[in-house]
């Protein structure tokens, strides 16, 4: 039996958000939701799918040193809130060996990366991460 602890369908159904940052835009008021929602705050249930822009600004970040069991080998992790044209997302910042050099409002781009692996025989999970454009070396 494969030693697998994470769920494949739970991952698979979110691929549009993990890979392409697919959000929902309300047809009535134009508000964009990431992650998607069933009902807009304006009451409308009609949405169009839109992909969030691939570049944005860093609002805040922190370096997590005490990680969960799935991320033990990747310690430490940098997490940031990024504004992608008015929609804010939380994600991992990568390619940043010296996070103390990150500046407020640093420009970041969305990149596609490996997120975690499910033990030795399970699948590999992918998703978006955020890379400071000017780096932080």
């Amino acid at each position: 039996m494969v030693d697998q602890s994470l769920s494949v369908p739970k991952y698979w159904r979110r691929i549009p958000q993990y890979y392409r940052l697919t959000a929902l835009k309300c047809r009535k008021c134009g508000r964009v939701y990431f992650p998607p929602r069933a009902i807009c705050d304006c009451g409308s249930r009609e949405f169009d799918e839109v992909e969030l822009p691939r570049r944005g600004r860093l609002i805040e970040f922190t370096v997590l040193r005490s990680v969960t069991s799935d991320f033990e080998k990747q310690r430490p992790l940098i997490f940031g809130i990024v504004d992608l044209n008015g929609v804010r997302v939380l994600g991992q910042l990568v390619d940043c060996p010296n996070p103390e050099k990150l500046s407020d409002n640093a420009e970041v781009e969305v990149v596609f990366r490996r997120v975690k692996e499910d033990s030795d025989y399970g699948i590999i999970y992918y998703g978006f991460k955020l890379r400071p454009l000017k780096g932080c070396w």
Binding site: R14, F61, L77, V115
Partner: protein, 380 residues
């Protein structure tokens, strides 16, 4: 009596939180439940409410109610388990309160119980990450401390505080915990200890994080006050919620769920008495004071450092040392807060001489997911 309450807390018992490798869920439950019932005069109970966040994750047990009941010999009352993360205790209390408010004469038992120390700390962190959105936040490795750290950074920056100002929370909680018989941390901490403790997620250090503890706390909640001694009534409660996806919130320096929940009461800017806030992280304790309306936005840390929230003052905050010193027993933590506030209002040792009439108890799910706030009052 002159006060109309939704229910009365007629009995309490708390197990000193710790690492109970020699006791399982059933042993801790029995000890807390039976002693709380005894302290209430062993009334008949109509239901057993169990607040637990981790019973299936660390206890590998679904439908835990009958196991706990059978071991404790409590029969003829249905068990209802309430899970709402680390806010399970407050939410179970809300349900139990509504139950007794619907009865003419009767009591229910509420036990908050969790055992995070059945598993390693890496697993504990993973289970704590389940408090976030598992599809869109914890999938990427985020945990509650990440969100609390982002809030702390924004708060310190916006209101021009230094980390040393925030360190006062840990120092004051340790000082209070040192006098609390059931606290997990009974040792005072110095500024140097806090500043030299390891960084968990900057700016938050180990001393800003409440420690995971195994624990069980029980309350007997009745529709009529206990006539044998001074009773504590629950005058009311309020509930509030914030956006579930952290990044989408408009304000990272306020607890929207607490602001919503406290609207059930008159503004608390003139409140006089005991306050218990759910300080899973130091910054959440500080922000709770502001979001409850006990002081202005941005002023809590200054007032804390000036001693405004100390014992003997107008607003006495976390007299037992809060989750920081008592420990974070996850689903049980809110029941510890409520039991402790009851003991403080009754003037049980070491809380004698406070002469407080009312207590505000704030319990929160995760980092500002949902909150419930209760108003407790002494019934003479």
């Amino acid at each position: 009596m002159g006060i109309s309450a939704l229910g009365y807390i007629n009995g309490v018992h708390v197990i000193p939180p710790g690492r109970y490798y020699d006791k399982g869920y059933r042993e801790l439950f029995a000890e807390a439940a039976l002693k709380a019932l005894e302290s209430a005069g062993n009334p008949d109970i109509k239901a057993i409410y169990i607040a637990s966040a981790l019973s299936e994750l660390t206890g590998e047990q679904l439908a835990i109610g009958n196991i706990l009941r059978d071991y404790s010999g409590i029969r003829n009352a249905p068990s209802i388990r309430v899970e709402n993360g680390d806010g399970s205790g407050g939410f179970a209390f809300m349900v139990a309160l509504n139950h007794v408010a619907s009865m003419n004469d009767g009591c229910v038992l509420l036990v908050g119980i969790d055992k995070p120390h059945e598993v390693t700390s890496l697993k504990q962190n993973k289970y704590a990450s389940y408090l976030l959105d598992s599809d869109y936040e914890s999938y990427f490795g985020a945990t509650p401390v990440v969100l609390a750290a982002l809030m702390a950074k924004q708060y310190l920056k916006n209101y021009e505080y230094k980390y040393e100002d925030l360190a006062a929370w840990a120092i004051k909680m340790h000082e209070r915990g040192a006098k609390t018989p059931f606290a997990y941390f009974k040792r005072a901490a110095k500024l140097k200890d806090v500043l030299e403790s390891e960084l968990v997620a900057d700016p938050l250090r180990l001393y800003d994080v409440s420690p995971f503890v195994d624990g069980a706390a029980a309350l007997v909640l009745c529709s009529k006050p206990n006539t044998r001694d001074q009773a504590v009534g629950v005058l009311g409660y309020g509930f509030g919620a914030s956006n579930s996806y952290f990044a989408s919130r408009n304000d990272y320096t306020a607890l929207m769920s607490v602001i919503e929940a406290v609207k059930a009461f008159n503004p608390l800017n003139d409140f006089n008495g005991i306050v218990s806030v759910h300080d899973t992280y130091s910054i959440l304790g500080v922000l709770a004071l502001e979001s409850l309306g006990l002081c202005k936005r941005g002023s809590a840390l200054r007032l804390l450092n000036e001693g405004y929230f100390d014992p003997g003052g107008k607003v006495m905050v976390n007299l037992d040392g809060g989750l920081k010193a008592v420990g974070n027993s996850m689903g049980a933590s809110g029941v510890y807060q409520l039991a402790s506030a009851t003991m403080q209002l009754r003037g049980d040792k070491p809380f004698n001489g406070l002469n407080a009439e009312a207590a505000v108890v704030e319990d929160m799910v995760g980092v500002d997911q949902e909150s419930v706030v209760f108003m407790l009052k002494v019934v003479k």
